[in-house]
């Protein structure tokens, strides 16, 4: 389990970006972090992944305080993979080389097998016959799936997704959600899903953290979220008014 305790984060220009963040990420479940643009979701994810040091507060992973074990830190974190907001694929490499990259780096697999394994991972994310394309030949949705395949290549126990479905059409979005769900069920992977698309979050998660201007204003299940009294949350979760449609709605 990953626990965050009183995490505060100030940016270089002294903005208070995260305020007293405390919550637990349970094992083998999908935790969804939702909130508006600029509420600090990516920053929080980067702190969990170790890319930013929190200004204050503690991160505990499996009962160990990360701040107190500098050397072994790498080891705990190596079980974690992150899927970045825009994929962050290596554009100097081909599709399969991107996916194979963590395998090469770990050096645990004979080189002759790496390509085979990379193709297997690509099949897993429903990509066929694209192994030799370069990254700029791939669409946004494909790039996202390649990024997920690359993250899965290191066989992580924890996987952090930063807006994996933003900017995609509903079908591609559904594919990505299915994929995340499949990983979580089959591999019992702990997932953290950052998104501002509630439909995606509701489909695959039942543990919600709601961020508002760097503060957690809600933590709970989907049902609790739907019943939350906070007017901001209500506005966020209300579907857009469709009254203009009711006139041409033909009941069957």
């Amino acid at each position: 389990m990953i626990s965050l305790k009183n995490i505060n984060f100030f940016s270089d220009d002294a903005q208070h970006i995260l305020k007293n963040i405390t919550f637990d990420i349970p094992d083998a479940k999908v935790t969804a972090i939702i909130g508006a643009s600029g509420s600090g979701k990516t920053t929080l994810l980067r702190i969990i992944a170790g890319l930013y040091e929190p200004t204050s507060g503690e991160i505990w992973i499996d009962g160990q305080n990360l701040a107190t074990l500098p050397k072994t830190k790498q080891q705990v974190r190596s079980k974690m993979a992150i899927v970045f907001q825009h994929g962050a694929l290596f554009d100097s490499l081909t599709v399969w080389e991107n996916v194979a990259f963590p395998l090469y780096e770990q050096g645990t697999m004979p080189l002759s097998k790496v390509r085979e394994e990379a193709e297997k991972l690509l099949e897993m994310v429903d990509l066929h016959g694209v192994a030799d394309l370069s990254i700029d030949q791939c669409s946004g949705g494909m790039q996202m799936r390649i990024a997920i395949a690359r993250a899965l290549a290191s066989y992580p126990e924890v996987i952090l997704y930063d807006e994996p479905s933003s900017g995609l059409d509903p079908i591609a979005r559904g594919l990505i959600c299915d994929l995340i769900q499949k990983q979580q069920i089959q591999q019992r992977m702990t997932s953290v899903l950052v998104t501002h698309q509630l439909s995606a979050a509701f489909q695959i998660s039942n543990h919600f953290i709601f961020l508002y201007e760097g503060e957690i204003i809600f933590e709970g299940t989907a049902d609790e979220l739907m019943e939350a009294k906070d007017p901001y949350i209500q506005r966020f979760i209300q579907p857009p008014s469709r009254s203009y449609r009711t006139t041409d709605f033909v009941p069957l």
Partner: protein
């Protein structure tokens, strides 16, 4: 007045911070040298890109510089009637002086802004963060191989440049009827001591190290999107040329002082 003092103070502070950052950067690079894993493949790739890829422009530049120096030296020598010294003087000034500096300048136009822009783009698109989360040290993977390749390739390119310059010089001497090509070559080669060659190579090595590490430093500290990449590429290019000139002056002063 107060405002001027204030802005000078700020400027100085920024430069001190920059130097401090650069020192930390270089410490990380040095750590990448003696710790495993080493990225030989990337190292050879960069040797190929920086070194082999620069050979054509280095050859052309060498030819032009050789011809130019020979003609200028010849004009100067004629006024003293000392034409016979042409080969010796031209060879020396190419090997000790212009060769390393011009090579560094020319190669830095290829290497400097492109390395800064490439690393900057990787930084902006979070590829460097992706490396870090995969447990890969970006210094070891991206920076150390580049700097090592540059430090080795600059003297090699200066050698190519020097050979091209002396050969063209000899050709010019022959064509201008001053002396025969073999005589020019013989004279310039016998005029150059191993010390001169060593001095030229040392300067090139220092330039290679300075150019590539400066480029990488500017590339890696990029922030703020495409504008940041653009700024880094132009800052790196300017800094590289200035640092070549400044370090050349310092080294030349030192070697003549002792």
């Amino acid at each position: 007045m107060k405002q001027i003092a204030h802005s000078i103070n700020n400027w100085l502070k920024l430069r001190v911070i920059e130097i401090q950052e650069f020192v930390i950067f270089m410490a990380n690079v040095a750590r990448g040298l003696y710790r495993k894993p080493r990225y030989w493949h990337d190292f050879f790739d960069h040797m190929d890109i920086m070194g082999v890829g620069s050979i054509p422009i280095v050859l052309i530049a060498g030819g032009c510089i050789g011809a130019l120096i020979t003609l200028e030296t010849l004009a100067e020598l004629r006024t003293f009637g000392a034409n016979v010294l042409l080969g010796k003087l031209t060879g020396l000034s190419i090997i000790r002086g212009t060769g390393p500096v011009f090579t560094a300048m020319i190669v830095s136009t290829r290497v400097c802004s492109s390395a800064a822009a490439e690393l900057g783009a990787m930084q902006v698109s979070q590829q460097i963060d992706a490396l870090v989360t995969m447990g890969v040290d970006p210094f070891r993977k991206l920076i150390t191989p580049r700097i090592a390749a540059g430090t080795l390739m600059f003297p090699a390119l200066a050698t190519v440049n020097g050979i091209a310059a002396i050969l063209t010089g000899a050709l010019v001497a022959q064509l201008s009827g001053t002396m025969s090509l073999p005589f020019f070559l013989n004279q310039s080669l016998s005029g150059i001591t191993p010390g001169d060659v060593l001095w030229g190579l040392t300067k090139s090595t220092v330039f290679g190290f300075i150019v590539v590490s400066t480029a990488c430093y500017y590339g890696l500290r990029v922030q703020g999107g495409t504008a940041g990449v653009r700024a880094a590429a132009s800052q790196a290019a300017v800094a590289c040329v200035l640092l070549i000139l400044i370090s050349n002056s310092i080294m030349t002063t030192l070697v003549h002082a002792f």
